[in-house]
């Protein structure tokens, strides 16, 4: 069993850039995209943004061609100057930087770095019609998704997540298909493990052996407990299931792990006293996870939450 820790998502991205080089903007852009026409009012644009909870809109002409972009900042200016009834074309930013769908992911990265904008419209290269949009979130999701597929499929990943010999490599992991999902939406420590218990029942119902399921449930319990004790936030458990393989992902939106090496030590804990009185916070959670999972990846940095991915292959004595 191997465990690898990535302290910082930025470092990780740098290390794995080569593995994403073939990804194109068209693979991860959001599409269709909400747009506003240049001859509509700023008020209308504001309502669109409010309804869709977005902070910027590409502006197009009658034919859907890109003319500009209008952001929440432009709306605020219009509000201040009482010009909400003005046309979008008067208030929008012109000379928009856009992407083509065949642009590589690194081109998108460079544009985010270079211009500092939060989003880039994607246009058709012949007629400049808006066909999609890329936000930082799209970019990050694309990376994470690709990363997950790499873990499972691509032996090259061993260069950066450590070398391990698989008992079996799942042949057709359908990573898109979430078999199990649980929201950790409670703060009460005494409820910790609710999701893990549900997952246990779910896996038993899929006819996995109790021994295999116990291993997965224990690791998930510890990850779930960590979310409740440490993240001061909510989280989510997801599990993907194959006949010989189960992948569990637990993530939260909390404060993140500041020193991941320290956190990995047996007996090290930052749990508050009231939690310890309940028998939690013994500093053994991560080592239990490490022991139970065949492979575990933790991504975290201060302020960015924690993402735990654990892989479980059914062992010979777990049939």
């Amino acid at each position: 069993m191997e465990i690898e820790l990535m302290e910082n998502i930025d470092d990780l991205i740098k290390k794995i850039q080569p593995y994403f080089s073939e990804l194109s903007v068209g693979d991860f852009m959001s599409s269709p995209v909400i747009t506003v026409r240049e001859d509509q009012t700023v008020f209308y644009a504001k309502e669109l943004m409010r309804a869709w909870r977005i902070s910027g809109l590409p502006v197009v002409d009658m034919d859907g061609k890109l003319k500009g972009i209008i952001s929440i900042e432009d709306i605020i200016h219009a509000l201040e100057s009482g010009t909400l009834e003005a046309l979008v074309s008067e208030k929008m930013t012109r000379n928009v930087i856009s992407l083509f769908k065949y642009d590589k992911i690194m081109d998108a990265f460079k544009k985010f770095e270079m211009y500092g904008y939060g989003r880039f419209p994607v246009v058709d290269e012949t007629d400049y019609r808006v066909i999609g949009i890329v936000t930082k979130q799209d970019l990050m999701l694309a990376l994470l998704k690709k990363l997950s597929i790499l873990y499972v499929h691509d032996a090259r990943r061993e260069e950066f997540v450590g070398v391990d010999i698989y008992r079996s490599i799942p042949k057709s992991v359908k990573i898109e298909r979430t078999e199990f999902e649980f929201q950790i939406d409670y703060k009460d420590i005494s409820l910790a493990g609710t999701g893990a218990s549900e997952l246990k029942k779910f896996l038993l119902s899929k006819n996995f052996s109790p021994k295999f399921v116990k291993r997965i449930a224990i690791a998930t319990y510890e990850a779930e407990t960590n979310v409740v004790i440490h993240s001061n936030s909510t989280g989510r458990i997801k599990a993907y299931v194959e006949p010989e393989f189960v992948e569990v992902r637990v993530n939260d939106n909390g404060k993140g792990i500041e020193n991941i090496e320290m956190a990995m030590r047996d007996g090290y804990s930052t749990a508050p006293d009231y939690v310890r009185e309940y028998g939690f916070g013994a500093g053994m959670g991560l080592s239990n996870m490490k022991r139970c999972a065949d492979r575990m990846i933790i991504l975290s940095s201060k302020g960015n939450g924690v993402f735990v991915e654990m892989h479980f292959w059914r062992h010979e004595d777990e049939s």
Binding site: S197, G279, G283
Partner: protein, 105 residues
């Protein structure tokens, strides 16, 4: 031994359960229990909050004995009924409680 027989050893039954007990474990740190308790275990602890039921469900613990005269939270009792985990309690401390059981497992 059968879960029902624990009552005959002088422990007060709070929630009934069933099945066979083959192992015992005594600890109050949940992660330790989680990592080390075997299935079909009787668990001795002073923790009474509802999470002990989750630990039992996940590890396959069949019965919990709450020592030192502590009382279970109402929530714990409800949850244990639902999950079919037997709950017992005793005024004995953990060591004395274990002593009673270890000769018959």
């Amino acid at each position: 031994m059968k879960v029902e027989m624990i009552r005959d050893l002088g422990f007060e039954m709070v929630v009934e359960g069933q099945g066979e007990i083959s192992h015992g474990y005594a600890c109050d740190l949940l992660s330790e229990v989680m990592g080390n308790a075997k299935p079909d275990t009787i668990w001795f602890t002073v923790q009474s909050h509802v999470n002990i039921v989750a630990v039992a469900v996940i590890t396959g613990i069949k019965a919990i004995v709450l020592c030192n005269g502590h009382d279970y939270d109402e929530e714990t009792i409800e949850k244990a009924k639902k999950e079919k985990i037997a709950l017992f309690k005793t005024k004995l401390n953990t060591f004395e409680a274990v002593k009673k059981v270890c000769n018959v497992i």
